[in-house]
C-alpha cells in the first residue's frame, strides 16, 4: 500500500543545535501532519499543514518548531534550538483529503535524542 518514509530513522544531537526531520509523504497527498511520542507516553498531535500553511497546531508546537514543504519535496519539521524535552519519536502522516473520515498514512517515525 501507500507508504510514508521518514529520514533519518534516528538522530542524536546536542542541546541547542538545530535539527530537521524529513518526511516523504504519499505522492498525491495534500494534507500533512506531525505527531510526537515521548517514550512511555501517548502519541500527541503537533501540527497539520495544507496548501503551504499551518492549519492547526497544538500547544506542544513551540515557537522553536517550524514546518514547510518547499516545492513539493520533503515535508519537514525543524527544531531550532533543540531542548532536552524534545527527545521523542516524531511521526509524520499524510492524507489525500482533510475530511474527518480520511485515512492518515503514517511513517515509521524518527527517534530524536537530544543530549
Amino acid at each position: 500500500g501507500p507508504k510514508v518514509l521518514q529520514i533519518p530513522s534516528h538522530q542524536i544531537i546536542d542541546m541547542g543545535q538545530m535539527v530537521t526531520l524529513n518526511c516523504d509523504p504519499v505522492s498525491n497527498h495534500l494534507y500533512f501532519y506531525w505527531y510526537k511520542q515521548i517514550l512511555g507516553q501517548q502519541m500527541e498531535f503537533l501540527v497539520n499543514f495544507y496548501n503551504g500553511k499551518v492549519m492547526e497546531k497544538s500547544k506542544l508546537f513551540k515557537d522553536q518548531f517550524s514546518v514547510e514543504r518547499p516545492d513539493g519535496s520533503y515535508f519537514t519539521l525543524k527544531i531550532q534550538p533543540t531542548a532536552l524535552e524534545d527527545s521523542a519519536v516524531y511521526f509524520c502522516a499524510s492524507s489525500s483529503s482533510g475530511g474527518n473520515y480520511a485515512e492518515q498514512f503514517f511513517g515509521p517515525g524518527t527517534r530524536l535524542t537530544v543530549l
Binding site: 521518514q6 507516553q41 501517548q42 511521526f91 474527518n100 473520515y101 485515512e103
Partner: protein
C-alpha cells in the same frame, strides 16, 4: 473534552485464541473512531474505522470492532489470532470539527505459539 483510553497496556494470548482489545472514548461531538496497528520499526497501519451505520465494522486480517454509544467503547476483536498479529494496537478518536486526532496509549499484543 476528547480522550481515548486503552486500559490494557499489554495483552498476552495463545495462538488460535480469541482476542479483545479494549478502547473507551470520550467525545463532545460525533466521534470518528479508528484502530491502527504498529509493527516494529514500521508506521501505523489502519485496521478499520467507524463513523456511523452498523456498529460492527470489519477490518483487514479478520479484525472487527464494535461501537457502543451507551458504553462509549470501540473494542477490537479477532476470532483466532496468529503469531504475526503481535504488535502494538492504537485506538484513535477524531473530532468531527477539525482534523485533530487523539491516540490511546496503545496495547501491546503478544501472541504465544
Amino acid at each position: 473534552a476528547q480522550s481515548v483510553t486503552q486500559p490494557d497496556a499489554r495483552v498476552t494470548v495463545s495462538e488460535g485464541a480469541s482476542l479483545q482489545l479494549r478502547c473507551k472514548y470520550s467525545s463532545s461531538g460525533t466521534p470518528y473512531l479508528f484502530w491502527y496497528v504498529q509493527y516494529p520499526r514500521q508506521g501505523l497501519q489502519l485496521l478499520l474505522k467507524y463513523y456511523s451505520g452498523d456498529p460492527v465494522v470489519q477490518g483487514v486480517n479478520g479484525f472487527e470492532a464494535e461501537f457502543s454509544k451507551s458504553n462509549s467503547s470501540f473494542h477490537l476483536r479477532k476470532a483466532s489470532v496468529h503469531w504475526s498479529d503481535s504488535a502494538v494496537y492504537f485506538c484513535v478518536l477524531r473530532r468531527n470539527s477539525n482534523n485533530r486526532i487523539f491516540f490511546g496509549d496503545g496495547t501491546q499484543l503478544v501472541v504465544k505459539p
